[in-house]
């Protein structure tokens, strides 16, 4: 039978952290462009992305498939193949430039200063090696220690991420773990070298909702203990509301809205963000008809001119002239709120949200 005790339900509440005074950026991305040449033309996956993230904070990057959220984060990890991807701009992690690093330097950087948790722990763990082998390998790559010391460290990490009986489980193969446990093991592997930057790419999407809740708690706990900067990639706005301090909404390779999570989700200023909120069915209240965004995301081979969202935007006629189709709006502050920006030509998005969108939200 299970070797876990049954605990009484816990009460956890999480409130957004206030911005500290020490806001020095640990991760600084400036004008990042990622392009992939293909037979059909240039795929512009990320176009001029800039953001910064200090230690101890969590940034959620939100967007649909093809929005560039994973591609930009893989660039931060230095995971793109220099032969197939064209990367320009700057990515600074702890003051060190990542773009243009040699493969040897990247090997030293990956897993030590920054680490990544992937969506699918089934395919990210090697089926042929035990969990322990894989975690100790990650540790010994960056630390010159004996096997037994590395094993002790791996057991410590497995214990820390809540795997029961880690001394015994360390010799298990990935297939002997459940989905939630595999995700825990992968988190243990990512954190074994105390990285200051953790990138989590849809870490809970493949998990069931009760397991997802456990993993979200775990990531939040670990961040509190380790004080690392976390980039959390997801498409689930509910998860964002629970875990993030800041949010960056991406669409067709561009950041379209950026700021503190309570502001962006509570009072978004971009029509795309409005569309996302209106697409989510609520858990309480009388079910309202959903107002989905019409159309489909554009192909990255031919991103629309002007504002990339204009073909699907229902508010285009509120902007005078053909501004939306000809001029790409800048990502700039639109209201007096500190630290938030959006990329839209609308003059009074605040007003439109309050009078037209908010009443429709569940």
């Amino acid at each position: 039978m299970s070797d876990q005790s049954i605990r009484a339900p816990q009460t956890v509440t999480r409130t957004a952290r206030a911005r500290g005074l020490n806001e020095e950026a640990y991760l600084q991305v400036t004008d990042l462009q990622v392009q992939f040449p293909t037979a059909d033309g240039m795929v512009k996956a990320v176009q001029g992305l800039s953001y910064s993230l200090p230690l101890g904070r969590t940034l959620a990057i939100v967007g649909e498939s093809g929005s560039g959220k994973s591609v930009s984060s893989m660039a931060v990890m230095g995971l793109h193949d220099a032969k197939t991807a064209r990367i320009s701009g700057s990515i600074k992690v702890g003051g060190r430039e990542i773009v243009g690093l040699s493969e040897k330097d990247l090997e030293n950087y990956r897993g030590k200063d920054s680490a990544m948790i992937f969506q699918d722990p089934q395919s990210s763990l090697h089926p042929y090696f035990t969990i322990g082998d894989q975690i100790t390998e990650a540790y010994r790559t960056h630390n010159k220690v004996s096997r037994s010391k590395a094993k002790a460290r791996a057991i410590e990490m497995l214990d820390r991420v809540g795997i029961p009986n880690p001394r015994r489980r360390i010799d298990n193969y990935p297939h002997e773990f459940s989905g939630g446990m595999r995700q825990r093991a992968m988190i243990a592997m990512a954190l074994v070298n105390d990285p200051k930057l953790l990138i989590a790419d849809e870490p809970t999407t493949a998990l069931d909702v009760t397991v997802q809740a456990q993993i979200l708690d775990l990531i939040a706990d670990l961040q509190r203990d380790f004080g690392s900067a976390v980039v959390f990639i997801t498409h689930d706005l509910g998860v964002v509301a629970e875990i993030a301090d800041d949010i960056l909404v991406m669409y067709a390779g561009n950041a379209i809205e950026h700021g503190p999570v309570d502001k962006i989700l509570g009072q978004p200023l971009h029509p795309y963000s409005w569309g996302l909120l209106e697409s989510i069915p609520a858990l309480a209240g009388e079910p309202q008809p959903l107002h989905p965004i019409p159309g489909t995301p554009p192909s990255l081979l031919a991103v629309p001119s002007g504002c990339a969202f204009h073909p699907r935007c229902e508010f285009r006629d509120r902007v005078p002239g053909d501004l939306c189709t000809t001029l790409k709006p800048d990502l700039i502050p639109r209201t007096a709120d500190p630290g938030r920006t959006s990329r839209c030509h609308l003059k009074d998005p605040d007003q439109i949200f309050r009078s037209e969108i908010l009443p429709r939200l569940p």
Partner: protein, 355 residues
């Protein structure tokens, strides 16, 4: 058409047995065999994927089926559509038990019970045009003559919001959301009375998901089709369903009308499930809800716990839970719960929306 042995009426539909609901599952069970480890595969084990499910769906009604991976919801979908033959129990469609019918005798029933799959990529044959995919359903059931096939296909494509001129395109020329629409058009082709939708929107992006949900909603209202709607997203199920059944380890643990289930869930597992859903309302000033965190994982369906199957993870469990399997009893009007200690939560689990 003439009346056949399996109760097919002159109109081509299945004749309903007086007073019978559209669909009734009676002590339905599906056990899969796994080969044992030892010599001569001794110690053969059985995975009890579905074990004693009772459910009823009335004409035009939508029943939601929720639960986590391995709870048996997809197996139930495959049993209802008779892609699997059950180990035990009855599947009654309009009063006729179809649990063990032969493929030939099943055909008229297949026309009335259709399935929409989760993955719009693997559920469409990449070498067939959309016209062929949707048209096959029409041809198989001899619903139109050769001349009428194309107009009917185009009509169906239009119904699901696709361009009717695209009938000669292949699935790869469509996006994920459009492919799911093709799957829906194929299901609608035979004019079914009930559609089993197995996670029909889970593979889609948020904005596309809402489009497909609106489409399903409109079709349901216009055509009066009953749905068994399977999803793990509790918000999606709430939006779409009249009644919801929660499954855990092959059993239904709670079944109730939508509002009762979301507002006054009585089974501890339902409460834990609802409380685990991340809620966006928090940022709009709604106070964070009380959380129930389950510990550990779902036990193996090969060797489920004795008595109540949820007891190994339940904070209310006592000795009786290991000894006596709680029956699915009515604890409130129309609300059935399988728990010895069923009671509504002290305070609402889903965040209240301020008026």
């Amino acid at each position: 058409m003439t009346t056949t042995a399996n109760g097919r009426s002159a109109e081509g539909g299945i004749r309903r047995v007086e007073g019978a609901p559209l669909l009734q599952l009676d002590d339905l069970a599906m056990h899969f065999r796994t080969s044992g480890d030892g010599l001569l595969a001794r110690g053969t084990k059985w995975v009890q994927a579905v074990d004693g499910v009772n459910l009823t769906v009335n004409a035009g009604e939508t029943l939601g089926l929720v639960g986590e991976s391995g709870c048996g919801k997809s197996t139930t979908a495959r049993l209802i559509t008779r892609l699997l033959e059950p180990t035990r129990g009855k599947i009654k469609y309009q009063g006729h038990d179809i649990a063990h019918l032969s493929e030939r005798k099943l055909r008229p029933y297949r026309r009335e019970i259709q399935l929409i799959f989760q993955d719009p990529y693997s559920s469409l044959n990449p070498r067939h045009t959309v016209g062929a995919i949707v048209g096959t359903a029409l041809r198989t059931h001899e619903l139109v003559d050769k001349k009428g096939e194309l107009p009917r296909v185009q009509e169906l494509l239009e119904m699901v919001g696709l361009n009717p001129e695209h009938y000669n395109r292949y699935p790869h020329e469509f996006s994920g959301g459009q492919r799911q629409r093709i799957g829906i058009a194929r299901a609608l082709a035979t004019q079914p009375k009930i559609i089993v939708a197995d996670e029909p929107v889970s593979a889609l992006d948020v904005s596309i998901q809402a489009q497909v949900m609106n489409l399903l909603e409109n079709l349901r209202k216009e055509l009066g089709i009953a749905f068994v709607f399977i999803a793990h997203d509790l918000g999606v199920v709430r939006h779409f369903c009249d009644r919801v059944a929660v499954m855990y380890l092959g059993r239904v643990v709670e079944e109730a009308p939508r509002d009762a289930l979301y507002e006054k869930p009585q089974h501890p597992y339902t409460q834990a499930l609802l409380s685990a859903v991340p809620d966006i309302a928090v940022v709009r000033g709604v106070p964070p809800k009380t959380r129930i965190r389950l510990v550990g994982d779902v036990p193996s369906p090969v060797d489920p716990p004795s008595g109540c199957r949820f007891r190994t993870r339940c904070w209310k469990a006592e000795d009786i839970c290991a000894e006596i399997d709680p029956p699915l009893d009515e604890k409130a009007p129309a609300q059935k719960v399988a728990c010895h200690f069923a009671e509504p939560p002290a305070e609402s689990i889903v965040a209240e929306v301020p008026a």
